[in-house]
């Protein structure tokens, strides 16, 4: 990959929670349009890593540069990064006091300063894209988990981010609903969005990912293309993980 087209540059990243060394010497470069799946056992630091990218977590050592903005204590840079990075959470985190349409237009109106009507049109466009325009006037509490997660994706997409982060987007869903969310994510991948996805959905990983990263105990143990990763894993830890996750 061409060095100049990297939209995320992470170098020598270290982070501690108290005394616990949660991320150790992480180096990662993500190019425009690249789709990266991050997997690993729980507690391996994979969620923390992508949460560092939009500074929901602060790192203590190393550099994170997103789209030319380095994440430091400078609030302006943090705002600039958050405008370019969308995030989808495991627990959806829709705003329960606002209806679906208002969830999508809130940041457009207050951050992007878009007129209300224009924001609503844009939001409806994205609700069509995640296939739930008919739910626009409902409140999140009235939707199924899968529908809520698709709204959450639409809410992020409305901001027209360059990068989308997914933090275990299907882990809180019933099996029937996982597919509807993954379908939306596959569609999104086909549009050329830069995506970092923390997930255990290996089918999705092999179908969509350009790179799979396997993390354990705060380290990137293995980083490879899906074919190599599944067919020819290098480290024993990866083999063990894959045997456990694919044994069912």
């Amino acid at each position: 990959m061409n060095e100049n087209s990297a939209v995320i540059e992470i170098s020598d990243l270290n982070k501690w929670f108290g005394n616990f060394h949660v991320l150790r010497d992480i180096n990662l470069s993500v190019s425009q349009g690249e789709r990266i799946v991050i997997c690993g056992p729980s507690g391996s630091g994979k969620s923390t890593l992508i949460r560092c990218i939009n500074r929901l977590e602060e790192h203590q050592e190393g550099r994170i540069v997103v789209d030319g903005n380095e994440l430091t204590h400078d609030l302006k840079n943090i705002d600039a990064v958050r405008r370019e990075v969308g995030m989808v959470f495991q627990s959806f985190n829709l705003f329960p006091h606002l209806n679906v349409l208002e969830n999508c237009t809130l940041a457009l109106i207050w951050v992007r300063k878009m007129p209300k009507l224009e924001a609503e049109n844009l939001a409806m466009e994205y609700l069509h894209r995640v296939k739930i325009p008919e739910q626009a006037q409902k409140f999140p509490g009235q939707l199924s988990g899968g529908q809520q997660q698709r709204v959450a994706i639409a809410r992020s997409l409305c901001m027209r981010p360059k990068i989308m982060l997914f933090d275990e987007p299907t882990s809180a869903l019933d099996p029937e609903m996982i597919k509807e969310v993954l379908d939306v994510m596959v569609d999104l991948a086909e549009t050329g969005m830069t995506m970092l996805v923390v997930t255990h959905e290996m089918g999705f990983a092999s179908q969509v990912a350009d790179q799979i990263i396997f993390m354990d105990e705060g380290l990137i143990v293995e980083q490879n293309t899906p074919e190599e990763f599944f067919n020819n894993p290098k480290s024993d830890r990866t083999k063990l993980f894959l045997s456990q996750i694919l044994s069912h």
Binding site: H97, A107, V111, F139, G141, Q142, M159
Partner: protein, 370 residues
Amino acid sequence: MTIDNNSNNDKANQNIKPPPANTVGIIGWIRKNLLGGWVNTLLTLISIYILWLVLPPLFDWALLNADFSGSSGKECTTNGACWAWLDQRINQFFYGFYPPDSYWRVNLSLILLLPALAYILFENLPYSTYGRWFALSYPIISAVLLLGGVGLEGVTTDKFGGFMLNLVAGLAGIILSLPIGVVLALGRRSKLPLIRVFSIAFIEIIRGVPLITLLFVAVIIVQLFLPPGVSLDQLIRVMIMITIFASAYMAEVIRGGLQAIPNGQYEAAQAVGLGYWRSMRLVILPQALKISIPGIVNTFIGLFKDTTLVIIIGLFDILGQARLLQTNPDWMGKVDHETFLLAALFFFIICFSMSRYSINLEKRLDTTNK
């Protein structure tokens, strides 16, 4: 296909039956709430018996055997209530010593309060933009009306009294204590140590001292620190203290609401790029305040009743007027119950309205079962 569908529908409809007649409607309600089990039935019977003991004599005393005319207590000769004083004194109970030819100013400011409140409390009213501006400027309008200025004759606050005084002090406290409480609650959770320490100290000190002590401080001690020649109106001092006192409680009520909001809400608001203040205003506070409604209204009601403490600065609110009449030689010994009953009724009407409105508001804001 169509036939199949129809027969399926028929089958489905066949299985939908109305609930048994004795579980719905008035009969269902009575069975469920009054006669559900022998304990409930017994309690219902006991309650009916107590009501039968209390209500008829009360009704006799308050209305049937009551005296409604006369110019002094001596003319109240029946063993019922003596309401003869109402005719002469009701204005004092309501307006205190406010100049009678300016009563219209109090009335007008109360009448204007209704649309102002309506525009704050209810959505979807016509001309809502103008309405909100009117509501925002209402405190200034009513201050001018009550105190004078802009061509109106000045009235000093020592003329304020009766229930109007309770309303003025209570409303001012209610309007101010909510925003101050929000700021203190956010301050107590701030990451900036100076703001956090100040908020904690303020809340704990104010909450740790009885209100009446604060009022004495306001009335007696504050004067010692003011430069000679400068004085702050007594009523304003008391209103400030009542407001501060309620704010400290309000802050803790709202902090409870803030803590109930899951961390994911803060993170989602941050992730879509809303900064701290916008996250708070648009995402966190609307939810936290909704959760806190019972506690907020509790504090409002407490504050409103605390306005009766203005008596310690020598102002005669509605309770003060009651005491004044009870010690008046013309009425002494005849009106003790009646005057307190009237004061209680005034307070109950306002407090019960606040309570009902808050229940209505909770239902309206509930987004889970719409």
